[in-house]
Symmetry: C2
Subunit: 287 residues, 2 copies
């Protein structure tokens, strides 16, 4: 595996934020990501746990790490953070950037099966496998202590990754995650485009469907949802479907689901609850 | 005074962030600013202290409030934050947006005397007077408890405002402030353009010159400077000039000046020390 190319680095909260670019096999394109490394990992003195954060529609690798207010808390707990991009870019696919809900900035963390997208849009393999292999090889992180979280489309990605891969992630959390994409417009639209019409295949990328079947190791889950989020009101997110599926399945998941009065869908909401999400992951990553 | 027009609002950290637009008398243009109000101020239950933050070159009213990580700490201390823009915009002045160091995004917090700029570029009066009058009239802030801070060009603005107006600001702080603008390229270039060649007039906007003459009330000052900041290395910022002027003047200022190894000029640096700046101001605003 070729080493990723350093684009920039800055000191921040007793550690460093690095931006890298690399040629991805999974997406057959250049991909960028940021990584925050606390000093212990920079000096190579010890391997630190690692948190992956998946962003939402229209976002890239920068939104959360610049606006999420996470680094103070990661520094305190000596945890690394990796923020990948939300899709490949500039692949030359006709119309790839014409619709903010599809293509560029909207990879939805699936491996596309439809010819138009399948060469490049393999964000599931990219985020779950290729990127994590690369991070493990090049940085002082302890891959056995990995957790994942995300916002909106990225919250869907985080829940789905954790439920499909029991034992791989210690904990998972979401800020306003899309919880039942097979039944909401955000989800049906993209699954149809990337995966075609086979709804059995969709179910493999749907947190609410996956949790019904979950038989893996004990998985702690935290969800925060703003009560004044317009996408919550228009039923794009549907955390209640996920809550019901979790309760009825009686599987080995421990869900804390919170609705926060007055908060919307923005990073003003995300940053307000960042500390408690990082405390949650820290507890499980340090066990 | 006409009420400012609400552009957007979001709940954040047990309070709200509002963006407003208003027609400014000082700059004869539309101006925008953000304000964070903790719940106590929103319900009108009590008037809270207020912090003004002045941004640097190329920035606008959004940079710090989205990337500075300040709101968690302001919420804890129940302090309001106001973030003005860094200049008027779209005034129709020839070439106003051609140079990132002049005009748009580069108001330098002076009242311009030169004909090309003097109608609109009156950021000193705008920030120190008009905006503060407007905030006092329309929001539940206690204007007797006001402090100011800023970054780079905004750090210059903050120091200069506090030193020119003894007793008005309880405390002042800067992240990598331009400390001696009459002797650095950042400063000489803009002062020449906005104020002409009269260096006696420049001295009224220069923190190092002002502190030599300071005879006002006791003024606590905090400065953080990243040791790997390229603008520090190229002598655009010159905190040492300010330190020496403060020591030799033996005036009524209490300066804490810190150089932070490894940090650069970016918001990665600013956010790393935000908590300690807000703790500093909180101490003086609550006395």
């Amino acid at each position: 595996m070729t080493a990723p190319e350093l684009v920039s680095k800055s000191r921040c909260f007793h550690g460093e934020v690095h931006k890298y670019m690399h040629q991805s096999t999974a997406t057959q394109s250049k991909m960028t990501f940021n990584i925050y490394l606390p000093d212990a990992a920079l000096t190579g003195k010890e391997k630190v746990p690692v948190l992956y954060y998946l962003s939402g529609l229209t976002c890239n690798e920068d939104n959360m790490i610049t606006k999420g207010g996470a680094l103070a808390h990661l520094s305190k707990h000596q945890i690394a953070l990796v923020t990948p991009d939300t899709s490949p870019r500039s692949c030359g696919i006709p119309g790839e950037s014409d619709d903010w809900e599809l293509g560029t900035g909207a990879g939805f963390y699936v491996d596309a099966t439809q010819e138009k997208w399948s060469r490049h849009y393999n964000m599931y393999t990219y985020v779950h496998q290729e990127l994590q292999d690369l991070v493990k090889e090049h940085f002082a992180v302890d891959a056995l202590r990995t957790s994942v979280f995300g916002h909106s489309m990225g919250g869907h990605g985080a829940l789905m990754l954790a439920l499909r891969n029991p034992g791989h992630y210690r904990s998972v959390s979401g800020f306003a995650p899309i919880c039942h994409p097979s039944t909401s417009e955000w989800g049906r639209k993209q699954f149809t485009e990337y995966l075609g019409k086979d709804e059995e295949l969709w179910a493999r990328y749907d947190a609410t469907e996956l949790v019904k079947q979950y038989e893996g190791e004990r998985l702690p889950i935290l969800i925060d949802q703003g009560a004044d989020d317009p996408f919550y009101k228009s039923k794009q997110l549907q955390p209640s479907h996920f809550v019901i599926a979790t309760e009825s399945s009686r599987r080995n998941v421990v869900l804390e689901n919170r609705v926060q009065p007055g908060y919307d869908h923005s990073y003003w909401f995300v940053q307000s609850f960042m500390e408690s999400h990082i405390e949650f992951h820290a507890k499980h990553l340090k066990q």
